[in-house]
Structure formats: structure tokens, C-alpha cells
Subunit: 200 residues, 2 copies
């Protein structure tokens, strides 16, 4: 009934119209459905990529740690991610984001099966926004500490620790990069959801 | 034509149907328009609140600085926001977010005037998502440094500087809180846009 230039006479075909199965409209609906289904499949693939990135970030940070090969009688030099509260937050936040992404896969599949349903897309868009915020805050907080570990800050007398703990710094830098990859994927996911909701 | 339980005979009223002006549908459309207009007005008010929060965050951080009342012959003790690159990023990012919010007001007004137009809402939703990411990263990065300034970290020998520079620390903490207020407002803005786009 959307394309108003066709003059049709509908007599008591209520259920067929309600489901959009009237023969004249079928072609248009099918095309729109195909486009939306493609978006939904792309959404699913992007989610898989985001899971990989988020898990990589959490596990790289979680396993980072370095013990220097020399030690004194009373002290052994080692660096670990849980020496810094920001990195603990990073691991917890990225684990939550990974868990959310895994739990969101069924809703993404629902969008593939029923391309015209707006409710699952809307739910995903809202939850994606919250997850994006959590992911971004974890990544940015860790990035600022990683920067400090690399460069130090002479004004506050915070010395760079990356000269001593090179391997540790490489790992935490990699984890931050992985978290920002998943941030970018989240932005694309929200963009796709918004486009698909528009004419649901 | 949505409610399929009415049996109507439409003969060549193409333009009227296309614009949704058929008398039977008029009431429903009007109601939806009113609801959407309310959402658009709420969106506008939220944006004004976000501008205040973002400007407060940028200006509080930008004017933070403290010079201690004692000094030696060669050295004067002072702390300033541009001693730390993270705080410089914070000021720049929050200024950009404030500028974006001001520029987004006309589009919000367009949504109030034309509640059924989906294009401006979609544009705002996508740009809001990007601005949310920038805002969150600035806030989180600054928060991790503020935490460090308050508590220090014994494992890396980074000492807390807030014992000396109490006034400076209060100002930067306030700026971080203001930036998170605008993050929360952004999440609500995205949620509202998504709800309003759904049946545009």
C-alpha cells in the first residue's frame, strides 16, 4: 500500500495485508528485505571481528608481565598488569565487552532471519552504545597510562618504566591497540543498526 | 492502510495516500507527530545541558593551575594542566565536543519543525556516536591520570602530587566529572534518536 499510484480494491483480506503479503507489494518488500538481510549478515561478521579484538585485548593485557633477569637479595624487579589499577579495569571491562558481544550474537541472528523486525536492532543499538562507552573508557584510560610508561613526565617526576620493562610495554601497547580496533567496529555496528532501523 | 481489519476501496487517490493524508489515518499520524515532536524538544534541551557540561569541563581544566606560595632561589613550584599531555588532549577534545554540540543545534531544531524527517535524526545519531567516543576517551584518559595524581603508584614509583597541589587536583577532578555528565547526556541523546528513527 506504500506506492500510492496503484489503484487496488481490497476486500477483507485483512491478514494478508497485515503481513504484507498482497501480491502487488511483494516485489518491493523482497528487495528491501534483501538489502536489510545483507546488512544483518555484515553486522554478524563485524560482531565476530569485534569478539576477536576484544578477547585479544583482554587476554594480552591479562597475561602481560615481566620479571627482570637480575635481582638483589631482598628485591626482585618485576612488572605486572595488576600493579596498576587502570590495567585491572581494562581487563575487567574488555572481558565484559567480550561477554556482551557473545551474548549479542543470537539477536544478530534474529535480525538475519527476520530482516524487518525493528525491536532486536533497536535493542542491539542501545546496548552497543553502552558497550562502546565502556570499551572506549577502558582503552583511553589504559592508553594514557601506557603513554606515561613510555615517555614519563618530568613535571610530576613520574619516570618512564619502559626502558626497564620493554617486553611488558610492548604487550600493554598491543592490548590498547586491539581495544581501539573493537571501538572502531562498534561505531560501524551502531551506524549499520541506525541505517537498518530507519525504514523498518 | 496499516490496520488491515478495515476494508476500504481506494480509487485513484494516489497523492493523498502517498502523503498519508487519507482521513482514516490522519488521527494516528497526528498522534505520532506529537510524540516525535516532544522527543525532538527533549533532544534540544538535552543538547543545551550537554553544551553546559562540556564547556564547564573544558574551561575548568583549561584554567586549572596552582603555584605554591613558597619557592627557592632557582625553582618555583607550580602545577599546570599543560604539564601533562593527557590534560591538553582533554581540553582540545572537550572544546571540539562543545563546538560540535553548538553546530548540532540547528539540526535538532529541524527535527522539532519536521518531526517525521528521518535524515537529520540519522545524521545526528551518527555524529553523536563519534562525539560520544571522543568525549569518553578524553574523560577516561584524564580520569586515569587524576586517579594517579591522587593516589600515586608505589609499584612504578609514581608519587601522588595532590598532597602538594590540592587546589589543582580539585579543579581537574571537577573537570573529569563534568565530562562524564556530558557522556551520560550523549547516551540518552543516541537512545532518543534511535527511538524516534524507528517509525519515521
Amino acid at each position: 500500500m506504500r506506492n500510492g499510484d496503484s489503484t487496488t480494491i481490497d476486500v477483507s483480506e485483512s491478514s494478508a495485508i497485515a503481513k504484507g503479503k498482497a501480491p502487488l507489494i511483494a516485489v518491493t518488500k523482497q528487495e528491501t528485505g534483501g538489502w536489510k538481510r545483507g546488512v544483518a549478515i555484515f553486522d554478524f561478521i563485524l560482531r565476530l571481528g569485534a569478539i576477536v579484538a576484544a578477547l585479544a585485548a583482554a587476554s594480552t593485557m591479562g597475561t602481560s608481565g615481566e620479571t627482570l633477569p637480575f635481582f638483589t637479595q631482598f628485591f626482585q624487579f618485576q612488572a605486572n598488569y595488576d600493579d596498576l589499577p587502570t590495567f585491572q579495569f581494562f581487563v575487567i571491562a574488555m572481558a565484559i565487552v567480550s561477554g556482551y558481544l557473545v551474548l549479542s550474537l543470537p539477536f544478530s541472528i534474529v535480525s538475519i532471519v527476520r530482516p524487518h523486525a525493528a525491536a532486536p536492532r533497536l535493542l542491539l543499538l542501545i546496548l552497543d552504545t553502552v558497550a562502546l562507552t565502556l570499551n572506549t573508557s577502558a582503552g583511553a584510560a589504559a592508553a594514557s597510562i601506557v603513554y606515561l610508561a613510555h615517555k614519563g613526565n618530568p613535571n610530576t617526576n613520574w619516570l618512564a618504566i619502559c626502558q626497564q620493562f620493554g617486553g611488558f610495554c610492548q604487550k600493554i601497547s598491543g592490548a590498547v591497540v586491539a581495544s581501539f580496533v573493537s571501538v572502531v567496529v562498534f561505531i560501524f555496528l551502531i551506524l549499520l543498526s541506525a541505517l537498518a532501523i530507519r525504514q523498518a
